[in-house]
């Protein structure tokens, strides 16, 4: 089985978010970049398939040379090889188009993406990729097992869970649940050393339409200070929620 894991290179979840150049660009100053957390669940699940079912795992990123540190981390965790499409990710469709090209030439059985990246939160790449490839697709995928050429998956739905079956090739938009957080892999020294010798291929992008453009950013307006009530003044709180906030 060949697995492609799509990796977004995103600011760490604790990063302070600021913008520069007239609020048109994200301020990368002092920001630590990591594997997108939703992708990390998928990557660990792919390594599990590698260990249990002998899968070959390729990781791919659409990004600049700075993303190679993130790809090397994925190799250190256990991916067999890495591909970087040498382009600045502009919009979700552009990224999906690049990934589709990589997927077509690689003949992958399973393509794992995170259900959304934690920077632009578009949540569109996995579905667009599946659509461009005309592969089966499961979003918000929280469990997956593979048996031969078919997959069983579970997807979180609003207020419950759905169990799904689909034939490979399959694209999933994965999330927490694919593995437990405590089971996420971190690179060990041997993995880090081995990763240095693994193949990281750089491909040039294919032409794609730019359907959407991020023209500006804004930060939420500063909040007024919290209104505190004494622990024995619950009537005060209820009164505020009813008369001021009008939510009860």
């Amino acid at each position: 089985m060949k697995i492609l894991v799509c990796i977004s290179h995103v600011p760490d979840t604790t990063s302070k978010i600021n913008f520069v150049n007239g609020d048109t660009e994200f301020d990368t100053n002092g920001v630590q970049y990591v594997i997108n957390p939703n992708d990390e669940f998928g990557l660990t699940r792919a390594i599990w398939f590698q260990e249990q079912q002998g899968a070959n795992v390729t990781v791919v990123n659409v990004g600049g040379a700075d993303a190679e540190a993130t790809l090397r981390k994925a190799l250190a965790i256990g991916a067999n090889e890495a591909i970087r499409v040498n382009a600045t990710p502009t919009d979700g469709f552009f990224v999906a188009k690049q990934l589709a090209e990589v997927a077509k030439s690689g003949g992958y059985d399973l393509i794992i993406c995170g259900r959304e990246s934690l920077d632009y939160n578009g949540g569109m790449v996995p579905g667009m990729l599946a659509s461009l490839l005309d592969y089966n697709f499961v979003n918000s995928c929280a469990e997956i097992t593979i048996n031969g050429t078919s997959a069983k998956a579970a997807r979180e739905i609003d207020g419950g869970k759905e169990t799904i079956s689909a034939a490979l090739p399959l694209v999933i938009g994965g999330q927490k649940g694919l593995v437990e957080e405590k089971d996420l892999r971190i690179p060990n020294m041997r993995g880090i050393m081995t990763a240095r010798t693994k193949v990281l291929t750089v491909l040039e992008p294919v032409a794609a339409n730019i359907n959407t453009k991020a023209v500006k950013f804004e930060k939420p307006a500063p909040k007024s200070a919290v209104k505190l009530f004494a622990a024995d003044d619950l009537d005060g709180l209820i009164n505020a929620l009813h008369n001021e906030a009008k939510v009860i």
């Binding site: 659509s131 359907n211 023209v215 209104k227 209820i238």
Partner: protein, 322 residues
């Protein structure tokens, strides 16, 4: 040219998000000088949509669509858009609608903006404001394609009534076997409880509740408020509550009208998950807990002592204001 919405329903009844979407669509249609068409799948009384400004309803009735199937539903929406010549297609931000939205966008060669939080800032060029960076910032996105797909963030517009007399029309899109290659084998629904996705009020607990045996007092509070219950990441990691209730950056997002955080200190990842909620109430023993910095109202104190009293007082309040 028209504007198309997919009005989401479950068990024949429209979800509240469908009415919010219709309200939003009406306003967008006015600025574009066009009308609102809704497409519905196995919905019951579609005339309810007219109350929120829908001018025309395309009714799809098909037993094969009893379970949501992204590809099939995307086909329905695409064919409805083509039939109506719709240039703007609006979807909700439910799990199902977000599942199919990218498929619709590719199918219609359309640019797609998700998590949209307000009316278009401009219609030429077409620019919308959307949540990004896990609700820590907004991103103004320009859509450059002729056809545009938008998904509206929950509770970002509200319900606005504007009576219209909707024309109803049966619609039978052509579906093929390949639409059903992804098969739903079974569905497990949490019954009898408000779900986080549907809830206007969410009551959420953290480690300050000290153990799963104390969850009952949180559920009592949720009961009187008609709220869904949720939890912080440590609580789901400890196994006190299921992962499906974990709120935060890697858990569920919450855009409630009222979010009550009990015994949750307020890690940055948790705050990111609830930032879109309108009014935030925090109960915590630690006056320096970071959650108080983003809260609207707060009480410094022990949740185990405060919650039963708060529930009782709210019951009395509800009785008096019934």
């Amino acid at each position: 040219m028209s504007l198309l919405i997919y009005a989401e329903s479950a068990d024949g009844k429209f979800k509240k998000v469908a009415f919010e979407l219709a309200s939003y669509a009406k306003k967008v249609a006015e600025s574009l000088g066009t009308t609102v068409t809704a497409v519905t799948v196995n919905a019951g009384n579609v005339s309810e949509l007219s109350k929120y400004g829908v001018d025309k309803v395309l009714k799809v009735s098909n037993d094969k669509l009893n379970n949501f199937n992204a590809k099939a539903f995307a086909d329905v929406v695409e064919q409805a858009a083509q039939k109506e010549g719709a240039k703007v297609i609006l979807l909700s931000s439910t799990t199902d609608s977000l599942y199919m939205a990218p498929l619709v966008a590719v199918g219609l060669d359309a640019g797609f903006a998700s998590n949209v939080v307000g009316l278009p800032l401009s219609t030429s060029p077409f620019q919308v404001k959307r949540n990004a960076f896990s609700n820590k910032a907004f991103n103004i996105t320009e859509i450059n394609t002729d056809v545009k797909v938008l998904s509206l963030a929950k509770n970002s517009y509200g319900l606005v009534e504007s009576n219209a007399a909707a024309v109803e029309e049966d619609f039978a899109p052509s579906l093929n076997d390949a639409d059903f290659n992804v098969k739903v084998e079974s569905v497990e629904k949490t019954t009898g409880k408000v779900t986080i996705a549907d809830a206007d009020v969410v009551v959420s607990g953290g480690r300050g509740l000290k153990g799963p045996e104390n969850w009952g007092i949180l559920e009592d509070l949720a009961g009187v408020l008609g709220a869904a219950t949720a939890c912080s990441k440590p609580v789901s990691d400890l196994g006190w509550r299921p992962h499906s209730e974990h709120v935060g950056q890697t858990g569920k997002p919450v855009a409630a009208n009222l979010y009550v955080a009990v015994g949750i200190s307020g890690a940055i990842q948790h705050i990111a998950g609830i930032n879109s909620s309108k009014v935030k109430v925090v109960i915590n023993t630690d006056a320096d807990a970071p959650f108080f910095k983003v809260a609207d109202y707060g009480i410094v104190g022990d949740a185990l002592e405060i919650l039963p009293r708060l529930t009782q007082k709210l019951k009395e309040f509800k009785t008096q204001n019934a």
